[in-house]
Amino acid sequence: MSKASFLRSRWFEDIPVGEFHVFGSYTLSEQEMVDFGTSYAPQIYHTDPDAAMNTRYKGLIASNWHLCSIWMRLMVDYMEGYSLGVVDGRRNGAGLGFQDLKILKPVRPGHTLTFSHEIIDKAERILKNKWGVIKSRNEAFNHKGELVMTFTVDILAERNPDNLTK
């Protein structure tokens, strides 16, 4: 069994608090930052490298939502299709929401970010007699090892049916 299919095959009960993963690294290009900004975050410091020089950021920076989007992609890649589970009977579900998203350093073209993920809590509540809620702390570090982004996110994981009300 591959690492990814092992991770996806576990029930809520099998996922230990304290488990730590590094999803991988990603280098942002100027073009993709401009593309994202043009579509979704049209401030000039996200869309125009020259005009951005005259803003408080002194150059182009990535949109916060672009960084979150990249986090999602690296998680999906790490899990090799992550929530495939919901379609074919395996066991990871949708996100419920996040807390305390903080952006601590600007991310510029050419910066390489490394994303980590730690399971920090498992909720007692059971949703729809099927799902548990896993809370993780997620962090992104830049090429200098500086923390640039942090948030916690709540994601559904399927409970072992043996433990549920029939």
Partner: protein, 156 residues
């Protein structure tokens, strides 16, 4: 409070409310974002999505975040409020899926200053954002903060 002159932090009504224009989210747009950032079947494949937890093709939650940013940016630009960033989102909840064809809009409510003098160049305002669909169903519920430029700052 539509204005023809720029609104800086000092001038801002810190309890103002706004409603954005509506945007329709197409299957093509859902797939384009998902292919790049969230390639899970319920965001990329209509038939797989129909058998999923969601029951139909729907936008990635992070795609809805990006759409919120566009709607919010458009409101700030229209109102000439000098938004210069956001470095903290205390809470965001995905309440319902945004299915293909959904017409989404944002309702913004300023909740007062978080920090009056966060920096010589800007103040920070608390802002609740609700993303609603054409049936007034709550799709996403957000508590965010916005950095608004001070009058006389040299950040531009």
């Amino acid at each position: 409070m539509k204005s023809s002159t720029p609104i800086y932090f000092e001038d801002l009504d810190k309890f103002a409310t706004f409603k954005s224009d509506e945007t329709t989210i197409t299957a093509q747009e859902i797939r384009k974002y998902a292919t790049q950032f969230d390639p899970q079947p319920y965001h990329t494949d209509r038939s797989a999505a129909e058998g999923s937890i969601f029951g139909g093709l729907c936008a990635s939650g992070w795609h809805v975040c990006a759409i919120m940013m566009k709607l919010l940016s458009d409101v700030m630009a229209k109102e000439k409020i000098m938004l210069i960033g956001s470095d903290e989102v205390p809470s965001l909840k995905w309440k319902k899926p945004a299915f293909e064809g959904s017409k989404l809009h944002a309702e913004l409510e300023f909740k007062g200053a978080k920090i009056e003098e966060a920096d010589p160049d800007f103040g920070i305002i608390k802002c609740d954002v609700k993303i609603l669909n054409q049936n007034q169903q709550l799709i996403m519920d957000v508590k965010t903060t916005l950095m608004i430029e001070n009058r006389g700052s040299d950040s531009e």
